[in-house]
């Protein structure tokens, strides 16, 4: 069986956990007994979360080639189907996104545009934290576990 690239890379470092994986676990630590919607490259987290389908959390990990509008529509679609979700983490390998058409009137910085467009798809949620590196290279395990992460929480009334 072929190892996930995450496991191959961790083997090089005494199986230490990747910083971005730890960050995800930390964010959901207090609510992981609630049901969590897992989408995308999330197998690593299967055992961490409760498998209940009464979702209170959502973890969406995009680590494959995806067209920009499909990416944004997937986020909006998945979250809007479950209005009881309160905490969301979007992790994305920003190198995997491509556009079929040019998008006008968006921020000139790619990382800023990315978080802005994702935020725009998550109505009713506030952005708590945005992790990114505008000069991201291959030394931060991005293809093992996406480095860019956005953490959201539902606005409380």
């Amino acid at each position: 069986m072929t190892l996930h690239w995450r496991d191959e890379q961790r083997k090089m470092f005494d199986n230490r956990e990747l910083e971005q994986d730890k960050r995800i676990k930390k964010y959901f630590a207090g609510s992981r007994q609630e049901g969590t919607l897992l989408y995308g490259d999330t197998a690593y987290f299967n055992d961490y979360f409760n498998q209940s389908q009464k979702y209170k959390n959502a973890l969406l990990v995009f680590n494959e080639e995806i067209e920009a509008m499909d990416f944004l529509d997937t986020i909006a679609g998945k979250i809007s189907l479950h209005p009881q979700i309160e905490k969301v983490c979007i992790a994305v390998n920003k190198f995997c996104i491509y556009s079929e058409t040019v998008h006008e009137n968006i921020e000139s910085d790619y990382d800023t545009a990315l978080v802005s467009l994702v935020s725009g798809k998550l109505k009713g949620f506030k952005l708590l934290e945005h992790i990114y590196d505008s000069k991201l290279k291959g030394n931060k395990f991005n293809f093992a576990s996406p480095y860019t992460q956005m953490y959201f929480e539902k606005w409380k009334q």
Binding site: F13, E19, H103, L117, K140
Partner: protein, 173 residues
């Protein structure tokens, strides 16, 4: 457990360097090309292409020396692929009719501007050669919402383009 944030290739064990390089370069220890590069007859120099597996002259980055056999043939190691010194040396020593960059790692994590400069530097200093670049532009740094992949490739200024994947292109300069 302590986490890990990043790593330095130079500090990895030789075995781990091989694992990483074989993932980094699709030609490592392989001889099958994903796309026909269609070269003119004559001396061909392959830059940063996992050695001379294609039977041509290989020019490699010294950073990756340890992933190659000690007695590797027809492969020469230089300090930096993206340097005028290397480009000039290739032109003067071999006067090749073709230069190939086949998924060359040194073109990764560059902006399109940097990649264009690097490719055209070889065009300038290896003036005898047609330059063939097979590239996965997934690894270039650019605004994914403001540019299509074709926009980026056209910006590089090739005279011929063959797209063979979402991000993969064969370019002739």
């Amino acid at each position: 457990m302590e986490t890990i944030k990043e790593f330095d290739f130079a500090t990895l064990s030789d075995a781990d360097k091989v694992v990483l390089y074989s993932r980094l370069h699709p030609l490592y220890a392989k001889s099958t090309l994903e796309v026909d590069v269609g070269l003119p007859t004559g001396t061909s120099v392959w830059i940063d292409c996992a050695g001379s597996s294609q039977g041509h002259i290989g020019v490699e980055d010294k950073t990756f020396r340890s992933v190659f056999p000690t007695n590797v043939k027809n492969t020469h190691f230089m300090h930096d692929m993206n340097s005028i010194l290397t480009a000039k040396a290739v032109g003067k020593v071999y006067s090749p009719v073709s230069v190939v960059m086949y998924f060359a790692p040194f073109l990764r994590y560059m902006t399109p501007e940097e990649a264009k400069d690097s490719i055209h530097m070889y065009k300038k200093y290896v003036s005898t050669a047609e330059i063939t670049v097979v590239i996965d532009i997934k690894f270039l740094l650019f605004h994914r919402f403001k540019n299509t992949n074709d926009d980026v490739v056209n910006f590089l200024g090739p005279k011929k383009i063959n797209k063979f994947g979402t991000f993969k292109y064969l370019l002739k300069f």
